[in-house]
């Protein structure tokens, strides 16, 4: 959809009409009601269309990406998605790669830096709004709540305190969608306060409660509940949504097979389907949330593929590889990335009943240096 803007110019009086893309069909898709409800073939057609259009934008606006594509001798337009050049996400640790003027950047987003240097991603307003849209769309995989149906207990800081650190910022965005209370202030997690609020809301018929936070904070809350010996009576009215991974608390990591039952026991949940995880990384502009079958659904503006470790070529669905994405929702930087995650992509009808693409992230790549005594600078050497 386009809007006409009338620009008045001083003498001689001339009226200039220019077309501005105020909202696009991609924005309509992201903001739509049925993101995950379309047939697979239709999703693929939409995805191919949006990714190709975004590719043209980045080739035109991002000199570094265009030069890279030229070096890769990429001329295949309209592109086979599997052939579109992907940038290692580590590039964003070493350089600021943009497809817009720096003045258009509304927020510089930093990775947590758990594994060395931090990525820096510049997002313009369009990219940020679409990111928020992806969260809203992803939440519909849990349930399509109206704004007042849900209250969020956020085990993290609010947006102002989250600052530029990506995983904290992304989680805090939930406050823009639903009434939210944050329980990290000044860097300190108020587990007792969060628990009091959860208990106060548990069992209210008119309100669903979502406990949202990184898994290590959820674990801290579980331990607090277990010490008290009094589970929360969550029943069917509560969902626990984790995101952000274990970060520097990886030593406490609990596998999902053990984590979910503990969450259910502590929060008194009726089903493990009420424990969900969300996935995102700073270089990716889309948040993916699990369905009841614990699959992360890929929305139809995002191409996700696992790649073979030798040539980084795309593998067929179902094979384990290095995860990569072509995210059409990012306008300010090419979110055409290959990451440090190992996972697999599935296509077809999910156990939750939706048709589409789903992915499962298994783990992060382990560098040689992390295993042996050969140190690389990135693994923590002092200079």
């Amino acid at each position: 959809m386009t809007a006409e803007v009338v620009r008045a110019v001083a003498a001689p009086p001339v009226v200039e009409r220019i077309a501005v893309a105020a909202t696009t069909d991609l924005d309509h898709l992201i903001a739509g009601e049925a993101v995950f409800a379309t047939p697979l073939a239709e999703q693929h057609a939409m995805r191919d269309h949006h990714v190709r259009r975004t590719l043209a934008h980045h080739l035109e606006r991002c000199a570094a990406y265009a030069a890279f594509a030229a070096r890769r001798q990429f001329t295949d337009l309209p592109a086979d998605l599997a052939a579109i050049p992907v940038i290692p996400s580590s590039v964003f640790k070493a350089a600021r790669v943009l497809s817009v003027d720096e003045a258009e950047i509304a927020k510089w987003c930093k990775s947590s830096g758990t594994q060395g240097a931090q990525s820096m991603i510049g997002r313009d307003r369009t990219s940020l709004e679409r990111l928020l849209g992806s969260i809203r769309a992803g939440v519909t995989l849990i349930q399509d709540w109206l704004e007042d149906d849900l209250e969020v207990i956020h085990l993290g800081p609010d947006r102002s305190e989250a600052g530029d650190v990506w995983f904290m910022y992304v989680m805090s965005l939930i406050e823009l969608l639903y009434p939210t209370r944050h329980f990290v202030r000044g860097g300190v997690f108020d587990a007792a306060g969060a628990l009091d609020r959860i208990r106060a809301l548990a069992g209210k018929r008119d309100r669903h409660v979502a406990v949202v936070g990184p898994p290590f904070r959820v674990l801290e809350l579980i331990e607090t509940i277990e010490r008290a010996g009094q589970p929360v009576p969550g029943g069917t009215g509560m969902t626990v949504l984790t995101a952000g991974g274990w970060k520097r608390f990886s030593g406490q990591r609990i596998e999902r097979a053990a984590f979910d039952p503990r969450v259910c026991a502590a929060f008194g949940l009726a089903s493990e389907a009420q424990v969900r995880d969300a996935f995102n990384q700073v270089e990716l502009n889309t948040v993916m949330i699990e369905c009841a079958a614990h699959r992360k659904h890929v929305p139809p503006w995002l191409y996700a593929a696992a790649r073979d470790p030798d040539r980084l070529t795309v593998l067929p669905p179902g094979q384990v590889g290095v995860m990569s994405y072509l995210d059409a929702s990012a306008t300010s930087y090419p979110s055409f990335i290959v990451t440090d995650d190992v996972g697999e992509v599935h296509e077809g009808t999910c156990a939750c009943g939706r048709a589409g693409t789903t992915l499962q992230i298994q783990r992060r790549l382990v560098s040689v240096a992390q295993r042996g005594c050969a140190l690389t600078l990135d693994s923590g050497g002092k200079k």
């Binding site: 060395g116 040539r311 295993r371 042996g372 050969a374 600078l377």
Partner: protein, 479 residues
């Protein structure tokens, strides 16, 4: 494969539980798990089992073991080489080279004597009292040495155990999941030579999953007198955090190494030496060269290195790498391509040379290893000083004279070793290892000091402190 563990020189094929290891070649190895009964047996072994065995006897035994290893027909060696290929992913030539090095370290009895003399002052000190100025000193074994072995360099297990045996400690080796074969092959070769020999009885080999240490592993650590912790940060941190205060913890790694090539000398020779130091262990070792700082234009030198790398593809063909290593290699090269760094790579991802400015910081920091060489053109060799610190173990220089103008500044920066390019893996007798003389830390020095009847050097009267105080004449005896 089903692999045993060794408890004080006895082969143990089963305990109450079993662990499954998956090697980098995706093979499965089943190993008896540590259980309470095994830990009891390990800890029941006397700490002083080697204390009264003369060094000659120890060296002779190791020499005999080494002679077996020297024979390419020795069954244990042949099995070991096969295992390195199958489970560790080594090429046959890499496996053969590793077995040769094991034979060399075990057979070099003179090297053991000379190392002890260089590091302790005299090898006699481990056998008897040695006069040192106004005392007789003896180097006593600390007792029980726990070796936490890395999976990147099989030979480090051999070096660690030989040091402990030469200083008469009994050893428990925790094998790496990548390489359960090397400590086991060593212990079994001891038993092949003489299963009742005290040195054979002084070696145990066990396995547990790194990062999953529990009560049993902590018991072993708590009852060790010295820990040799090699490898990644996690293993070293566990040992440092959990060892009792009185336990000596020697840490080896994690570190990296670099090379400097000056304007002089034969660049073809430099390229061949460089290729060797990159190819050994496929850059997994802490002494492996990852980056080279080259004075002057680099194009001709890169061409020489390319030829040398191609040669090393036949001399020491690259081993098999697992999923993560291959992916790391591919991602790093794609990143270099994004930044437009010129470079050249072999067709089969056997090696790669990437020319990068020395100051591109973070991109260079994420080195993928796997025979990838970052070449940094510099105006002067001293530019390397901006890129080294305590995290750097070895600086290899070419030509060797380049060490002289650089050594003071490199030492101040915190590096551990300066060697001629091509010799990174040759730890010369007398050379320091990660800033220390390891055998000094494996012994407890005990002194028997001279009696009062023997005058202190520079003081002409016997020591009688009571008389000195009674007569208040102390100052008269101050030299």
């Amino acid at each position: 494969m089903r692999s045993p563990i060794i408890v004080a020189g006895d082969r143990v094929d089963a305990t109450s539980a079993e662990l499954e290891l998956r090697t980098r070649t995706d093979e499965v190895v089943h190993v008896p798990a540590l259980d309470a009964a095994t830990v009891d047996r390990l800890l029941a072994q006397p700490r002083g089992a080697l204390a009264d065995v003369p060094l000659h006897e120890i060296c002779a035994f190791l020499h005999n073991v080494g002679h077996n290893w020297k024979s390419k027909e020795y069954t244990r060696r042949r099995i070991y080489e096969r295992h390195l290929v199958r489970y560790y992913g080594y090429s046959e030539k890499m496996a053969e080279t590793e077995a040769n090095w094991i034979a060399l370290l075990l057979s070099s009895h003179y090297r053991i004597y000379d190392t002890l003399s260089a590091e302790l002052g005299s090898w006699h000190m481990v056998d008897s009292w040695v006069a040192r100025e106004e005392a007789y000193v003896r180097a006593m074994p600390r007792g029980r040495a726990l070796h936490i072995i890395p999976g990147n360099v099989p030979l480090s297990c051999i070096a660690s155990v030989i040091r402990a045996i030469a200083t008469k400690n009994v050893s428990i080796v925790k094998a790496a999941s990548d390489d359960p074969m090397t400590p086991l092959a060593l212990a079994l070769s001891f038993m092949d030579t003489d299963p009742l020999h005290p040195v054979a009885k002084a070696l145990s080999v066990v396995y547990w999953k790194g990062g999953a240490e529990g009560e049993l592993e902590r018991r072993l650590l708590a009852d060790s007198d010295v820990v040799c912790a090699w490898g990644g940060e996690a293993a070293i941190e566990w040992a440092k955090r959990n060892a009792p205060a009185e336990t000596e913890v020697l840490t080896f790694g994690p570190r990296r190494s670099v090379a400097v090539v000056g304007k002089g000398g034969d660049r073809k020779k430099a390229a061949r030496a460089l290729a060797h130091d990159v190819a050994m262990y496929d850059q997994r070792a802490c002494f492996s060269v990852q980056r080279v700082f080259v004075e002057g234009p680099v194009d001709d030198f890169v061409a020489e290195v390319k030829q040398a790398f191609a040669l090393y593809e036949t001399l020491l063909p690259k081993g098999k790498h697992d999923f993560d290593e291959r992916a790391g290699y591919a991602l790093a090269h794609l990143e270099a391509e994004f930044f437009g760094n010129p470079g050249v790579a072999s067709e089969q991802a056997g090696w790669a040379i990437v020319v990068r400015p020395p100051d591109d910081g973070d991109a260079t920091a994420r080195h993928p290893l796997g025979r990838t060489l970052y070449v940094h053109p510099v105006d002067h060799a001293s530019a390397v000083l901006d890129h080294v610190g305590p995290g750097v173990q070895t600086v290899a220089v070419y030509p060797s004279e380049l060490a002289l103008p650089l050594r003071d500044a490199l030492a101040r920066k915190g590096v551990s070793r300066i060697v001629e390019l091509g010799l990174n893996n040759v730890f010369r007798v007398g050379g320091a290892h990660d800033g220390m003389y390891p055998t000094q830390r494996l012994v407890r020095l005990v002194s028997m000091e001279l009696p009062a009847s023997v005058a202190v050097k520079g003081i002409v009267v016997p020591i009688d402190q009571t008389t000195f105080l009674e007569q208040n004449r102390f100052v008269e005896f101050i030299p």
